[in-house]
Amino acid sequence: MSTQPHPIVTHPIVNRALDLAAQVSSRSRSAFDVVGETLARIDSANATLNCFSEVYREQAYAAARAVDAAIAAGRNPGPLAGVPVAVKNLFDVAGHVTLAGSRLLADQAPAQADAFIIERLRRAGAIVVGALHMDEFAYGFTTENSHYGAVRNPHDPSLVAGGSSGGSGAAVGGGLVPIALGTDTNGSIRVPAALCGIWGLKPTFGRLSRSGCFPFVASLDHVGPLADSVSDLALAYDLMQGRDAQDPACAARETEAVSPLLAALDPAAHLHGLRIGIAADYFQDHVEPEAWQAVERAAALVGATIEIVLPQASAARAAAFLMTAYEGGKLHWPNLTLRAQEFEPLSRDRLLAGALSPERWYLQAPEFRRWYRAQVDAVFQRVDVILAPSTPRSATPIGATTMTVAGQQMMPRAHMGMLTQPISFIGLPVVAAPFHIPGKMPLGVQIIAPQWREDRCLRVARALELASADFRAKPRQPEAGARLTL
């Protein structure tokens, strides 16, 4: 395995959430001021990025006052004291309508309670400043939503931000908030994280509760954080863990905090004892050279030399595609028969086709999944962690109906997640690492581990972040005056 030389660049690791919480807790800044500055950034940048669907201005100020009052009274404000957080608009936020990117839900009653993981973050002192745009019902990889407009990439507003958690990717990648929440059924955290140049974590299926989250495909849905540093990502993840009987998929496991494992500043300390493999075959055959370059660079930095093959990964992706279409279509069938004209057109046709597809196609997918999981489990006897590209290529232009990948033409909306689907299909934990070299659009590397071993993903992530500026998020706000007509 070789890697091309890169120019040496320095870009500091900025743990914005941790730094803000420290400043607020020590009273060197007030939570009120932090929220005010955040809202000003959102006001300035959202006209270009179109990532926020709603800004909770008054509630955010009220929450900030409460944090400041708690500190003044000598109470512990929590590890995320005053940290602004934004959430994909399919999470329930008390007092606000949960849109899930759809016009159909706009006339629903406001949520009466926060989603489980949002309640966890609030309890830790976080301040929820707003909700973020997404593909309708999370069915897409580009967040080009005809009801609410396309979310724009902070590194080039003429390009997509990825999806379906595109608003989450743009809000963090644009430097508006240090942490955002997303969901990942087939890659919807990992794709926008890669295309917007930030970190994303899709935990093991069942690790984090999905209560209060609008469903898409119950057997594949995951929730998780996006952030611009590994430490912030890990902290958010740690704080959101916990049992929840309201989500039948949520495992009865105690919190397994990873943040304490990440303190060392020597990359080698995080890699000690780990055998790191590189996913070849399907993952190497379906990328543009730049996307594979990201994997090579990561492999060189962490000393990965073992090439592995995930058997039938392409078929696994196909099975995930079938399950998604069928389960998603059946979920929305009642509205499809009554209010089809109100669906986002591209989602509508995909959901209709899924609902009308033969059940016999769908029924084979879970059986195939059992076989595939056994194959991948066997691979993990040889390696502890696997590296793979996050997306087949970098962000495509807004409105593009085709993209070129390895000489083939395909639709970005349906296929940008073709390398993430074989992994989430079996619920493995993955950190999406940003790969960003000057003058190029960001890309990503998936760091994949066996079930329940998020710690391994985050250890390798931390090593990459420490080892090279190529693997550090570089949040970028749109330039003043860069407003575009949506």
């Binding site: 093959v309 058997p311 039938q312 392409s314 078929a315 196909a318 099975a319 595609f321 079938l322 279409a325 028969t337 089809a340 004209q341 057109p345 591209l346 509508r348 046709d349 995909r350 209709l352 086709a353 899924g354 009308l356 597809s357 033969p358 016999r360 196609w361 084979q364 997918a365 059986e367 195939f368 059992r370 076989w371 056994a374 194959q375 489990d377 066997a378 691979v379 349906a414």
Partner: protein
Amino acid sequence: MIHKQDEFTSSFDVENYLDGALKAAGFALPTAYREGVIMNLNRLHAMAAEMQAALPELAGPGAGEPTA
């Protein structure tokens, strides 16, 4: 036990399939949506065929057991 299907060895008559599925569901698909639904059904058929093509590996000796 996974059962292979023969339907992927011949071409998929998507128009005929869709008409039957709509009749069974008692749903009148608006004409404007038909082309998009057909395109997506064809894509799903291709995905199902690809998964089906992987099945011989599962049906052989040691099916369901790790091989790698």
